[in-house]
Symmetry: C2
Subunit: 208 residues, 2 copies
DNA sequence: GTCTATACTGAGATAGAC
DNA sequence: GTCTATCTCAGTATAGAC
């Protein structure tokens, strides 16, 4: 057909978003897309590289928007540094907006994160963004030690990843699911509170 | 040999802790344990049920300690309710203590969480513990709406899962890894700050 | 350059002999 | 309880048709 590569990408995006990466076999993708098995390896090289292209396609615009917002924030030239909340908004809101435009976005990214398949891909495509935001947040929180700050960033990423993965069904209460946007607003509030929390571990008490 | 089942469990625990669940094949386990492939299916039924038994063996004592601590906390009969920080300590510290006693604990549980394989197992074996802690935290935070509270619990679980998975290497700075105990102390502080944070979303503004 | 047909290796699972 | 043989399905590699 005309665009084999495009059909593979679209079908893979839909199926992986629905069933997850591991549960979606290449043979399932090709049968729905109406292409040959080897075409995947011709165009992408491997299943993992196909995933990589999907992620880039989805996350690329979001990361661009994140950098643009941080540019504007830092161009303000505020004397101390942009406040934690402002930096968090610039980081998280582009994700929420992408989710509003494209309902498949959260499904796919959440699947990836929940299956723990993004370690390598994250480092490859997100390090520019995370590096700049890391430094911006660091400047907003000069009182924290390096070690404490790094861990709080780690906690934030964990909360974010889990939030993209699914509903909070731990309790079995269920309830109606709300929009992704307000979910992100809640996350920003929670994370900001975490960053501003008093430190429990005295600098000298650290082990190792 | 004498205890085929035990040898399978020990070997699987070691290999999965080292390489992860997906990357550890049953054939790898049997070759190291010196047993037959079919023995795994005879004793456990499937690879997933083998994992289930490993989790129970590791997490069972931790969950028992969690319930005991919550009992003591609630037996205090404090008029309002145990403070958020106290409840969080009762929940998280048994995990830290288990990690100190058994270095393999965090490795295995972290692997499980990072590979997203614990959804079903979590619900099966953790729901008693999480249910009771859910209610204890809810009593300590009466000002939050149901929806807001549920999401903050969700964020906490995400931060916890990510914390057990590994080091905060997002920044590429590395640095010496510290003990698990102080890592948990940092997590408690962060999460407590998150729970106490002011709510960003006005109750009427929620979507859907 | 693109795509098809087919074969290879390794995974988890299972039936049946001992 | 244990072991052999075998099944199905996965991702991958390659030879060759257009």
């Amino acid at each position: 057909m005309i665009d084999t590569k495009g059909k593979i990408l679209d079908t893979a995006e839909r199926l992986i978003g629905e069933y997850g990466y591991s549960a979606t076999s290449l043979r399932h993708i090709i049968s729905e897309a109406g292409v040959n098995l080897a075409a995947i390896h011709y165009h992408f090289g491997s299943k993992e590289e196909l995933l990589d292209e999907l992620i880039v396609r989805k996350a690329g615009p979001v990361n661009a928007e994140r950098l643009a917002r941080l540019d504007r924030l830092e161009a303000g030239g505020e004397s101390p540094a942009p406040a934690v909340e402002k930096v968090l908004e610039a980081f998280f809101l582009p994700m929420a907006e992408a989710a509003d435009r494209d309902p498949g976005f959260v499904r796919l990214m959440g699947r990836m994160l929940s299956e723990g398949l993004m370690q390598g891909i994250l480092e490859k495509h997100f390090q520019t963004v995370t590096g700049r935001y890391f430094r911006a947040l660091r400047r907003a929180l000069p009182v924290l030690s390096d070690e404490e700050f790094r861990w709080r960033l780690h906690f934030m990423i964990g909360a974010m990843a889990h939030t993209m993965c699914g509903q909070p069904d731990v309790t079995g209460l269920g309830g109606p699911s709300e929009g992704f946007h307000s979910r992100i607003e809640r996350l920003i509030g929670f994370v900001a509170g975490g960053f501003h929390a008093p430190v429990r571990v005295a600098p000298g008490t650290e082990e190792k």
